[in-house]
């Protein structure tokens, strides 16, 4: 007997069905979340310390600034290039320092391989402190200690990057296949061998990915370090702004974009080659 009934596919006198995209529970949650977000935003708008008349004139002001910046002043390029190179150097050396320090920190901060609770705790504290303090703030600190110059910038980049890489590489260590480690343990290898043969080869791809990603981020960070005196193009930028040299400002902005794009291109190439 056929399961299909005969007759028109659509009969106006049939029962009506109700259909909702979301279940009742889902709808309640969605409603509540929208409500919470709405309330929070309204409160924020109401209490934020903003001089509203200036808000309405903002588009005009922005347009004005923009037109003053055009066209970019190409004659400042010879002045910009060496500083741009310094910016790249700061990012590169800072990242390299950080890589060297972050490897042992990542190892000690990984729950499955850390020798004891103390090393785990210490490593975790280092990682958290490093990650929570912005590069620029580290730069403030180092400029206060060592005086202005690219060295302060390199250290700022390094100190910030240790936490970033330590956390991500540590997480990838926590996810490794434990089998090869057991195999080497059972054959009587010392811890050093186990790390070199069983841990390192498993995390190499993610290590390179993290390192090159951080270098890319660090190039952006290095562009502003000069504003607190830690070297790089930030200083040129600040000076041009203070002197209202808008055409130079836009030239500096263009060169920053160029340098960042350069970083992205190199990152893409390295990623393809190594991972």
């Amino acid at each position: 007997m056929s399961v299909l009934t005969s007759g028109p596919l659509r009969n106006v006198t049939d029962d009506h069905f109700a259909w909702h995209r979301h279940s009742l529970k889902e709808r309640v949650i969605r409603f509540l979340s929208f409500l919470t977000v709405g309330v929070v935003l309204v409160w924020t708008l109401g209490t934020i310390d903003v001089f509203w008349p200036w808000v309405w004139t903002a588009p005009e002001e922005i347009h004005d600034m923009f037109s003053r910046m055009m066209p970019p002043n190409y004659r400042t390029i010879p002045e910009i290039v060496p500083v741009l190179i310094e910016t790249i150097n700061i990012a590169t050396i800072g990242t390299i320092f950080a890589v060297v320090i972050s490897l042992p920190v990542a190892y000690l901060g990984a729950r499955n391989v850390s020798p004891n609770v103390i090393t785990l705790a210490v490593a975790r504290v280092i990682i958290v402190a490093s990650r929570s303090i912005n590069t620029l703030i580290w730069a403030l600190l180092f400029v206060a200690i060592l005086g202005p110059g690219p060295l302060a910038g390199v250290l700022a980049i390094a100190f910030r990057s240790v936490g970033f890489m330590g956390k991500l590489v540590g997480e990838s260590i926590e996810e490794i296949d434990w089998g090869p480690i057991e195999a080497l343990q059972s054959s009587g290898s010392a811890r050093g061998h186990i790390i070199t043969y069983a841990v390192v080869p498993q995390i190499i791809p993610s290590f390179w990915a993290v390192a090159i990603l951080r270098w890319d981020i660090n190039i952006r960070e290095s562009t502003v370090l000069g504003m607190v005196g830690a070297g790089g193009i930030g200083m040129l930028f600040q000076v041009a702004i203070d002197l209202f040299r808008w055409n130079t400002v836009s030239m500096v902005l263009v060169s920053i974009i160029v340098v960042v794009l350069f970083g992205e291109v190199v990152t893409a190439i390295v990623r393809r080659k190594l991972i």
Partner: protein
């Protein structure tokens, strides 16, 4: 196959070396030389003045002795208001920024956009991503004055750069079949967007928003250093006054808040998966 007990070696000898990552020796040594050359040159350009470093040590001690213990009391109310302002800036900027990223993200996705919009969208997102929020902060402060408004504008553009790009990538990764099916049923462009594209990227978008909240909170602390409002202002003035006790108090609260926000956003993200 067994080794003779007296340690002598019998039979043929084999040579083995671990295969190199780059086989061609010229390329290998060439790259190595270039790398080392660059490093030496770059390090030398650092102006490492040992005398200056030596003078820096007493200064460092001075800073750390001022920083410990952290001083929450002296400028307590300023610290609190500074953080509240940073949070306000973060909330508004993330909301507005994510909303703005949606049209830009869609425009910058090759598979659902037309060429002029794609080019424009991509270009704007690239510019927004390349400029550090501090740079944007300086520009907006000059344009609209000091304070939270400049901060919000800065982070809106910052968010646009990040969420916009990731959103565009998410859109480019969706299954095209769903779009095709709706198109072939005669649905208009925006209907297709609403039914085929949005549901696929919505979970991703929510995740990105949470992530961006975290990132914007950190950034909001920094843009204050150039006058765009928030705790950065308070921190800057503390450093300027050599008030390291207040500075370390601010940093500790910053670490605490970031940790809390991270934990919350991590839990929320797992909840919405």
């Amino acid at each position: 196959m067994t080794r003779p007990a007296d340690g002598s070696s019998v039979g043929t000898h084999y040579a083995w070396k671990r295969p190199h990552f780059i086989e061609n020796p010229f390329v290998r040594f060439g790259l190595l030389t270039l790398a080392i050359g660059y490093l030496l040159y770059a390090m030398s350009s650092l102006e490492v003045d040992l005398q200056r470093i030596a003078r820096g040590i007493p200064r460092a001690i001075q800073i750390f002795s001022g920083a410990i213990p952290p001083n929450f009391a002296a400028r307590g109310s300023l610290i609190v208001s500074g953080f509240i302002e940073s949070i306000q800036i973060t909330l508004l900027a993330t909301a507005a920024g994510v909303l703005l990223s949606i049209p830009f993200g869609f425009a910058a996705a090759r598979n659902i956009s037309i060429l002029p919009f794609y080019g424009l969208g991509r270009a704007i997102i690239i510019v927004a991503r390349s400029l550090h929020p501090v740079v944007l902060g300086v520009l907006f402060v000059k344009a609209v004055g000091f304070g939270a408004f400049a901060g919000v504008l800065t982070l809106v553009i910052y968010t646009l750069g990040f969420v916009g790009k990731l959103l565009a990538e998410a859109v480019e990764e969706i299954k095209y079949g769903q779009i095709e099916a709706l198109k072939s049923a005669g649905a208009g462009y925006f209907t297709v967007l609403a039914y085929a594209v949005v549901p696929q990227i919505m979970p991703r978008l929510i995740g990105l928003t949470m992530y961006q909240l975290d990132i914007n909170l950190r950034a909001s602390a920094v843009i204050g250093l150039v006058g765009a409002g928030g705790i950065g202002n308070t921190l800057n003035s503390a450093f300027g006054r050599y008030d390291y006790g207040t500075a370390s108090a601010i940093l500790l609260v910053m670490i605490g808040i970031i940790l809390v926000v991270e934990t919350i956003s991590g839990k929320l993200r797992r909840f919405t998966k």
